[in-house]
Symmetry: C2
DNA sequence: TGATTTAGTTAGTAATTACTAACTATATTT
DNA sequence: AAATATAGTTAGTAATTACTAACTAAATCA
């Protein structure tokens, strides 16, 4: 029987590979890792402005501005002027921009299905319970 | 009770976060994702030459050559001329270059320990058995 | 109301990452 | 032995990613 840390290493491998495959299947191979990270962070923060996004990513505002301009040009992101503060604009993902999150969901679903395919119902239930326990704070 | 794919999503999050933390602790924050990938691939292939590395990474030879030159300058990699074919050189990781793999091992160990801390011995054993089952081919 | 802060932008610069075309030197094929 | 193929390199180019300094316009503080 293997040690848990070896299994974690293998698990990490499987997940990275599945994400890569999903990225190909969603025709997102043209996006760099950095660009994916921008779109994921915008999704995570839920329509941040440029200043908030720059703070979270620990990048300068001009850097983020340039990146966002390119996303807008490529129709991954659009801006909505704020009513409360007319200096500020909220960043939104377009349908195309949301693909990134759908891609993640797809990869996770595929992994879950692969796991279920190798266990019976009782074992699956036990795995869910144990993982739920180790992942809670 | 949550669905397995939601748990997989959470698992993915936890692993990415732990790798990021480990990267900071190993003082590797100055390396880009692309650079990490080079060093991981050299480790995985075990002293490839530039042509092999370029093929696996699906990059041109000049691109890989330039990247390797920078790694050599920064003392992450060194070259060993081949005896069989004097045109060719094998790429080796220096101690500094091997840090990347130690960093991964460290992250996996930390995750495994965190999991063990939340389960009793019997549950840990069951988790190991179930994950072993889902991760085998 | 005037001074200061904040959100975003513009301009100029630099490192990284990637490419193709053309080259040298060694190895293999005919 | 000559022709071809392979390993690596050099040079020139381009997109991406990041920075600082300096700016405009709007909001807030004193």
């Amino acid at each position: 029987m293997k040690k848990l840390e070896e299994i974690v290493a293998k698990l990490s491998n499987v997940m990275v590979q599945m994400e890569d495959t999903a990225k190909d299947q969603f025709n997102l191979s043209n996006l760099t890792h950095t660009q994916m990270n921008y779109l994921e962070t915008i999704h995570m923060l839920g329509n941040p402005n440029i200043t908030e996004l720059a703070n979270i990513l620990k990048l300068s505002k001009p850097t983020v501005k340039v990146a966002i301009d390119k996303f807008i040009e490529k129709d991954f992101v659009f801006k909505v002027q704020s009513d409360e503060d007319r200096r500020s604009a909220h960043l939104h993902l377009t349908e195309k921009g949301k693909l990134i999150n759908q891609m993640h969901d797809f990869a996770h679903k595929r992994i879950a299905e692969s796991f279920k395919g190798k266990l019976n119902d009782h074992e699956t239930q036990t795995l869910i319970e144990l993982l739920n326990k180790v992942l809670c704070k």
